[in-house]
């Protein structure tokens, strides 16, 4: 069964450093998403991406964050100048066009900012 692949599974970074989280969505999917889950809390929407541009973003997704689909297969989330409160699990998701049938989450990247 097709999967959304996220790398790395765990990343530790120092406060103030830039970090890039990588995702390979399912190949025929058209819509891409990032979500964040702070430890012990609920999963929160960050951003959606379609047709090479952001289609929707939450108030969490401020200027510190950016997304990119650099080569037609990868979908990245960049966090500039990480803060301690950016420590969380980050989930990538993708879906085909049409309804949310087939919406698939990756297994997540646990980011720890020290």
């Amino acid at each position: 069964e097709p999967e959304v692949t996220q790398t790395p599974s765990h990343q530790v970074t120092q406060m103030g450093q830039e970090v890039i989280l990588r995702c390979v969505p399912i190949s025929n999917h058209l819509y891409f998403y990032w979500y964040r889950q702070i430890l012990g809390q609920k999963v929160e929407f960050l951003v959606s991406f379609y047709n090479n541009e952001i289609s929707e973003k939450s108030e969490i997704f401020d200027d510190q964050f950016s997304v990119e689909r650099p080569d037609g297969s990868n979908f990245t989330l960049k966090i500039r100048s990480t803060k301690l409160e950016d420590s969380a699990m980050y989930f990538c998701a993708s879906r085909p066009g049409g309804s949310s049938y087939g919406y698939t989450f990756g297994s997540g990247t646990r980011l720890t900012v020290v």
Binding site: Q41, V43, F45, S99, S100, F105, G108
Partner: protein, 115 residues
């Protein structure tokens, strides 16, 4: 605005007991989708079920069953004859059909099944 409420923060049951996890949602949309996900200690989100707003039929899959009631905006999840492997955090989620289809998750219910 969309909102998902899971009033039970934590539930503990003894193995073989039945347990129901509650989910109440709010949406202005007439077309929407409801989901349940399981998050084991390893952290990934495991898809359990998807339901669209036009399909109020209850569903059973093995020991799992779901009761969708539009009249009360609820989508409850029952595990029959619980097992220790069912221990996890369970999230209910809502996706509105016309708005980007990003998910709104509930706060989750932590289920502990004791041997």
């Amino acid at each position: 605005a969309q909102k998902v409420t899971q009033a039970q923060t934590e539930i503990s049951v003894v193995e073989k007991e039945d347990v129901t996890l509650d989910c109440v949602y709010e949406t202005r949309d007439t077309t929407y989708y409801l989901f349940w996900y399981k998050q084991p200690p390893s952290g990934e989100l495991v898809f359990l079920i998807r339901r669209n707003s036009f399909d109020e039929q209850n569903e059973i899959s093995g020991r799992y069953s779901w009761n969708f009631q539009k009249s009360t905006s609820s989508f409850n999840f029952t595990i029959t004859a619980s097992q220790v492997v069912d221990s996890a955090v369970y999230f209910c989620a809502l996706s509105e059909a016309l708005i980007g289809q990003n998910f709104v998750f509930g706060p989750g219910t932590r289920l502990s099944v004791l041997p």
